[in-house]
Symmetry: C2
Subunit: 341 residues, 2 copies
DNA sequence: CTGTTAGCGCTTTCAT
DNA sequence: ATGAAAGCGCTAACAG
């Protein structure tokens, strides 16, 4: 019996209770709800905890209290430089409140999304943040599990969303190009499986419309948010009989690819072709010329999103369904007036 | 009493046991060690599980079995494009074996490192992977917790390491520049708090030595692995009375900064100045000119590292203390012969 | 404010 | 091969 303690080194509540001359309940209270215990006992228990070197068994705690203090965050592609700032901000906010972020890279694979969602259902996390733009398979509103979306909207649901207005952002980008004098503005899209892509494409169309410019399907090349996609897209557009004088790319990485595509064609940016990105990643400042783009407040997105999900976890209902954040155009070197023809 | 089931929807082992007409022990066995149960009962239990829609409570499981199937991965800076490939590979390997990766961004903050290490000690994870180049505070070898290091060595410990030989890699980079004809080769270092920085600096010196070139402290500028650090470092070096004709940067991001620094000085790359990076990140292909660099097999690093820690967790001791991976020079456009003076 | 007591849901001896 | 029963470490009624 006393042998057990020798085998299993670790002290538990009972050891502390004995040492402090109180009950286990008091020990538990002191640790979880210190205000419910008299200062005197609190001090005594704390002293014992310290002396014995007691640390609560987190697995037992999670099991018993049905609270894990963990939030699962679903990221479609951790290699995409768009996410790190958001993730860091979420982690900071979570840690500050004693929560842990369980980051899950899904690569847009449905079974990964599902298996993390099952972890949530099965009590390994208290809430979930989606940046995938879609619901995990097996999701059921009746489960009533705390969930929100960040950065990318989830069509057909009531999940609270923290993001910019992507359509308006894309329209603003096109306006910016139009304001610089461009009349033939091309677009390189994102991948088919992302809501983002549709929103930015429709923002592109809205921007054209607002500028009084016609929409020509031939000026839209399909990309996939990657450097290679941007490269290929630009090549397609520049091979057109009447190529665009400016290209609005669905994100910065494809804009980088588009810049290479232009260079390969012997075009100089922005003299022969203007290029505009979306997201405002660090890479934009590394490119030559530096990239004009549209800024998304990623850090803020992360902070606000995490605060929101933590509130939901703690039982506070969301005050609105869309926490809209501002975007802004970042003017750099890759956009200029069109060449006079 | 029966009311409980109505309130707390969820089925448990007892429900399954009753439904299948067996004991809870048999249900547990069927789920955890199917081979210890007769095919007939196994089928019956499985059928009940399915029918009732039973899913084990993971928190209870973790608590009781003292196994979480979770590995904590400590990353110094998730914004650094060096890590995503490693992380993705680790996650893939872990998931394949039913494990989960708990990614922790530490920003090289000791208290973050410590608090995640405490999570390990307190039973919220089964093992830990360090990419921080140092031990978390509170680490004690006697705890005998499964831990390894990936990519960055931990001085003064016996933790198994999966990485390239950074010193040899840096020396190879310098050799490459020397082979191109350079005699005055500068270096922009990493930050002071990273082992990487020292290793690459000492590799730089070894490379000079091997080339029969003198080491001049003035040709070493201190950087911090960031774009800005590279920019500032290059400006320092290029302002020298006798500036280098080539710069070996401690990583690709600072190389990108150095390229801008050169451009700002009106230098053309590689005609007036050659630049070499380290890591082979995607950004190297986006730069103009594209960046010559040294490739680290990051995906392999992640796969091997995760397999290793999972083995340790399952009780297999490591077969060696250094799992060395190969590096290789990637030749692109940023390195050429020096200008004839 | 504090102690008593009864489990949380699961796994695991120990019998049978 | 299966069941009975004990208990992991902690928390939360409940009573006092």
């Amino acid at each position: 019996m006393t042998i057990r303690k020798k085998i299993d080194q670790r002290a538990n509540v009972l050891d502390v209770a004995r040492h402090a001359g109180v009950s286990t309940a008091t020990v538990s209270r002191t640790l979880s709800h210190p205000e419910k215990v008299s200062p005197a006992t609190r001090a005594r228990v704390m002293a014992s905890v310290k002396e014995i070197g007691y640390r609560p068994n987190l697995a037992a705690q999670a099991f018993r209290s049905r609270v894990t203090r963990t939030v699962i965050v679903l990221v479609p592609d951790i290699g995409n430089a768009f996410y790190p700032d958001i993730i860091r901000a979420m982690e900071d906010t979570a840690n500050k409140q004693g929560f842990t972020v369980l980051l899950a890279n899904t690569d847009m694979l449905k079974d990964k999304e599902q298996s993390y969602h099952e972890m949530l259902r099965d009590g390994r996390a208290d809430g979930m943040v989606l940046m995938t733009g879609r619901l995990p398979q097996g999701y059921s509103p009746e489960d009533n599990l705390p969930m929100i979306a960040i950065s990318e909207e989830i069509p057909g649901t009531a999940l609270p969303l923290v993001a910019i207005d992507n359509v308006a952002g894309a329209a603003a980008a096109v306006s910016h190009l139009h304001a610089a004098g461009h009349q033939r503005i091309g677009h390189i899209t994102g991948p088919q499986n992302r809501i983002f892509s549709y929103q930015r494409l429709s923002g592109y169309r809205r921007g054209l419309e607002q500028a009084g410019l016609p929409y020509a399907p031939s000026l839209v090349a399909s990309g996939d948010f990657t450097f290679e996609g941007g490269l290929a897209g630009a090549q397609t557009l520049l091979d057109l009989p009447a190529p665009p004088t400016a290209i609005f790319c669905a994100n910065d990485e494809s804009a980088a690819g588009a810049m290479l595509g232009a260079r390969k064609k012997g075009l100089s940016i922005p003299k022969d072709l203007s290029i505009m990105g979306f997201d405002n990643l660090t890479v934009g400042r590394m490119l030559h010329p530096t990239l004009t783009t549209l800024h998304q407040p990623r850090t803020e997105m992360g902070h606000i999103g995490m605060s929101l999900i933590l509130q939901l976890i703690q039982g506070t209902p969301p005050s609105k369904s869309f926490y809209e954040l501002p975007f802004k155009v970042i003017e750099r070197e890759s956009v200029g007036p069109p060449r006079v023809e």
